[in-house]
């Protein structure tokens, strides 16, 4: 159900602006991660540089959202769903910023990898990337549509990403032993894998915040949900 407008139009405008900035930040984070991973797969340093450059704008948006959130708390003293929306927006921006940092880290590792001959083990990263990005997009969707079911269903999906990370890590360590010449390259891929695993963690956090915003329910740290 769409909530009716506030009597105070400026309150609606402030909440809409906050939400728009979160959506903008989310789009930029998605683009940054996309560029970073394409820079890795396509061995394109320009894309990596773009991904790293995106981070600056995302950092600024994080600060803007925090500032706007505090401003709304001060000016309008929101309660109930309004308060949850403001708190969630501020928490979302923090998670998005950290996701974008992972994009920057991936881009930096990709640039190092691009300086050496390609490694076929980069294929291990693809399913992880797809899974992490699908989690990311669904978590933001859950927030935008206030979809409690989607948000809740996302939590157990992190287990698969953790498992993919473990499998990739084991294989890459094995390859390091077999092919010590490429040790640095394998190490960089391990870092990339870990970055994607962290993206999944942040997507989980966003989904939890989405559920809180929509239903006032705190589903963090509940093993029963994660195990489903």
């Amino acid at each position: 159900m769409i909530a009716p407008k506030h009597i105070l139009g400026t309150f609606d405008e402030a909440l809409a602006s906050l939400r728009d900035n979160v959506l903008m930040m989310s789009s930029l984070t998605e683009r940054s991660l996309d560029r970073a991973i394409k820079g890795l797969f396509d061995r394109d340093d320009d894309l990596c540089a773009n991904a790293i450059a995106d981070d600056e704008e995302i950092d600024q948006l994080e600060k803007q959202i925090d500032k706007d959130g505090v401003d709304i708390l001060l000016r309008f003293q929101p309660v109930a769903s309004d308060l949850r929306r403001v708190v969630s927006a501020m928490k979302l921006s923090s998670n998005l910023e950290r996701m974008a940092d992972q994009g920057t880290n991936i881009a930096r590792r990709a640039r190092k990898l691009n300086q050496h001959p390609p490694l076929s083990e980069v294929e291990l990263i693809k399913p992880m990337y797809e899974h992490a990005m699908s989690m990311f997009k669904d978590s933001v969707d859950a927030y935008v549509r206030e979809d409690v079911d989607l948000g809740r269903a996302l939590i157990p999906r992190d287990t698969k990403l953790d498992e993919l990370n473990r499998v990739a890590g084991r294989k890459l360590i094995q390859r390091m032993a077999e092919d010590p010449e490429q040790l640095r390259g394998y190490l960089n891929l391990i870092f990339v894998s870990r970055c994607l695993e962290r993206v999944g963690d942040h997507a989980t956090n966003i989904a939890e915040d989405a559920v809180y915003a929509a239903a006032a329910e705190d589903i963090r740290h509940q093993p029963s949900i994660a195990a489903r």
Partner: protein
Amino acid sequence: MVSLLKMPETLSQQLPRQMNRPTGESQENAVHVRDVDFAYGNHQVLHDVNLEIPPRAVTAFIGPSGCGKTTLLRCINRMNDLIDGARITRGSILLDNTDIHASGVDVVDLRRRVGMVFQKSNPFPKSIYDNIAYGLRIAGVTKRSRIDEAVEKSLRASALWDEVKDRLDVSAFGLSGGQQQRLCIARALAVEPDVVLMDEPCSALDPIATAKIEELIHQLKRQYTMVIVTHNMQQAGRCSDLTAFFYLGRLIEFGSTAKIFSNPTERKTEDYITGRFG
């Protein structure tokens, strides 16, 4: 259990009981509103209101103007009896499980047990001391030492003592608005009530005076059953343990203040407290 039906005790007899009031989970001094309909003449303003107001807690009544919250507050000490044609048409209000409208209930004693503080401070045109002493004298207390003791105790309880102790004989009109309101609270406390009703007690006060009254409310709830009507959502959130939301004469939602202001069950409550109608 205290019955309203028995003859009023003298205040001097009541004081020790008041001082030794248990602080446990006893329901003594709880107010129960049961199936209450209320009308001013033919105009019904409360519809089937059911509410259990616990002792030693602050219950806030919120809702848009005309929703019936002040009317209900005034029902609790039968203040509406003073208005022609105003009456409870169905249901009952119980204090300590005794119907406050039962025959034999002494209205004067009821109003002593259920004190009231109004929106606008209304000190009597008397000295600070005499304002506090007034209720005691009306109740037949004549011993000067007893009155002195009650005046000091009430002024201390209302956090006014330090500000006025050296000028108890000056006119109450010389006090600031916030001090006058605290004087009215002290006056209500002097007769040792069980329940304190407050009808928008801070609406005419500046933020500092408001903060003092709110702190006072917080202190007083340890001893009294407190009910406050307020239009200030933040005040209700800060001061009360329970909140009742009224709309068009009906109780829409009643629950813990934390729940009402974080995740109300009813859509109407949510829309009102978030400023979407009113």
